[in-house]
Amino acid sequence: MTTWLSVVVNGLFMGSFYGLVALGLGLIFGVMDIVNFAHGALLTVSMYVVYNLITLTGMDPYLAIIPTALVMYLVGTQLQRWLISPVLRREKDTAHLTIILLTSGLWWALQNGILFLFSANYYTADTPYSGEVFFIGEIPISVPRLIGFIGAIVIVAGLQWFLTYTDLGRALRATSQDREATRLMGIDDFKVYEFSFGLGTALVGVAACLLIPFYFVHPTVGDVFGVLAFIIVVLGGLGSTLGTFLGGLLIGLVEAIGSHIFSPYIARMLIFAIFIAVLMWRPSGLLGRRL
């Protein structure tokens, strides 16, 4: 029983990170109707940014959230301004295909660029929180994972509040619903796009800071999260913050329970099977409103 409980707890904890990473992808997907294939690679970049910040300055990983999120926000807005917006301005029907290809090029360039700069060695950041554990009953709870879990929930709630109650959040939702009409209302849609992409990558930066106390750093670290993020966004449905986060938790649970009963490989196959099943029967997602 206790093993089962700890499996479930671990699944939920890991799932909250999957959800957090997927949140940024879903935001960009929802607002601009484009898929950012470089999303996972941007997580890798963030991980290396945090890792170097921590090891060079001795900064607390959770304090590093502020500079990392800022850096990644800037990276995101500039990518949008110089690479993605021009394509969206130029093309209408084919833009999504061009963006997929453009961002997959970015993905290889970033991933292999990091491989080139930092080699394929595995790094782990030594933080004050790494390896800290306490017990509830007989269930071991990892402190950094718990902090990450709580952090993810706070961010989801904050994002939901931001999208619902602030002017900028309303502008964002309006743009995702009808770009032309929003522009007629005097909102600069491309400003909103830049902000959305920046916010999406900033969320990845935050996720990297929450991950680093207990996760390894490697050029391919983003691939796992990136591929799962696609699955989660489709699973959770477009334009649904809560749906995306719940999708992340579900994937985390499937992974943990599947690995416990069978093997990590079978768990991976199960996740893909769920993804294909959702694509086939409910492409609008489990909680989605529209395709």
Partner: protein
């Protein structure tokens, strides 16, 4: 990717026809004599692999370029082709010349099974689904030792049993034979795509690639057309997989089912110009040498470098010339022609236009 219909047929129409034939003849003889000129086996193999990728990019382009459906999972078909012929040869002594066709048909069937549910999805969803399928296939083959009682040896890979010089079982001591085989396969594929483009299906596909909703509203059965394109593309890709297995005598999941095969094929085809018959071939000929050159210059020290360059090229191509190198080249040539013959231009245009009308009405 777009406007494959509205594109002009041929840029060399105003050329003297004998001049064209001379150029073609020189080109053909250079291509035919190439392995006799370069003696170094390594370079012959590099050129052979280059032609294989040109072939694969062209096969991908049937579904990726002509129909505008970005498949990120073509390594599945490449892998099926490589494994099927190799297993049939190992277990049943069936010559890979026939195994090649079995693998092609099997790939076509798998393409139908994968395509049926996924072609209802548009754009990004199809790309994501094929990416996921590709990942599943790679992980599955890498983790499975026996499939229906057939030994596929998981991550250890399979060696093709060696027979020395044995043309009947697709084995040659001299690697130059493989150069001519892939050249022949490439010519067959170019010929097939040439006819496909002019067929009803080809026109349907380019209509779907331009605007699927419009095509459907005009009575095009989009799902059926896309399925056929996927099937044809998968068949040819699998034949390429068999060729690869015979060339290297070894197949394993990372090399034939790996994501890099899927991605590089996409890169080559889209960079060259997906709307053009020879676009994927041109793209491969332009980009393939980059990997070789960096490998030689850096002496294998930095493994990822050519992928960084490939990635940046794809970013820049999509940002500045999304229709590919061929489109830009054609535009440059036309621009240059207009400038060089700007004085006689109006009359010529007039006559050619009136001729066009006459042809059209008669």
């Amino acid at each position: 990717m777009t406007n494959s219909i509205s594109r002009q047929q041929d840029s060399g129409r105003s050329f003297g026809s004998w001049q064209r034939w001379v150029i073609v003849a020189i080109g053909v003889s250079v291509v035919l004599a190439l392995p006799l000129i370069i003696k170094n086996t390594y370079y012959v193999q590099a050129v052979t692999l280059g032609l294989l990728f040109a072939y694969l990019a062209l096969a991908w382009n049937i579904v990726g370029g002509m129909a505008g459906q970005l498949s990120f999972g073509h390594a599945i078909f490449f892998g099926i082709g490589a494994y099927t012929s190799t297993i049939l040869f190992r277990d049943l002594e069936l010559t890979p010349w026939i195994g090649m066709l079995v693998g092609g048909v099997l790939s076509g069937l798998i393409a139908m099974v994968l395509g049926y549910p996924t072609f209802r999805l548009r754009g990004a969803y199809f790309a994501l689904a094929t990416l996921a399928f590709g990942e599943i296939a790679r992980a599955f083959v890498n983790n499975t030792n026996f499939l229906f009682g057939i030994e596929i040896r998981g991550s250890r890979g399979i060696l093709v049993p060696l027979r020395g010089q044995a043309p009947l079982v697709y084995q040659f001591e001299d690697k130059r034979y493989f150069y001519y085989i892939i050249l022949l396969l490439l010519v067959i594929l170019i010929y097939s795509v040439y006819h496909l483009k002019r067929s009803k299906l080809g026109l349907y596909l380019s209509a779907i690639g331009d605007n699927e909703d419009a095509a459907v509203s005009l009575g095009v059965n989009a799902s059926a057309s896309k399925l056929k394109a996927f099937l044809i593309s998968a068949f040819f890709t699998a034949v390429g997989g068999t060729f690869y297995a015979q060339l290297l005598h070894f197949v394993d999941a990372p090399s034939v089912f790996g994501g890099s095969v899927s991605l590089i094929v996409v890169l080559f085809a889209t960079t060259g110009g997906p709307a053009y018959l020879l676009g994927p071939v041109v793209g491969t000929l332009l980009l393939m040498p980059i990997a070789e050159i960096t490998r030689i210059l850096l002496a294998g020290r930095f493994t990822g470098v050519h992928m960084v360059i490939y990635g940046l090229i794809l970013v820049l191509v999509m940002r500045f010339m999304p229709r590919g190198v061929m489109f830009e080249a054609e535009r440059l040539i036309e621009h240059w022609k207009r400038h060089s013959s700007s004085q006689v231009e109006p009359e010529q245009t007039l006559t050619s236009e009136s001729q066009g009308v006459k042809h059209g009405t008669s």
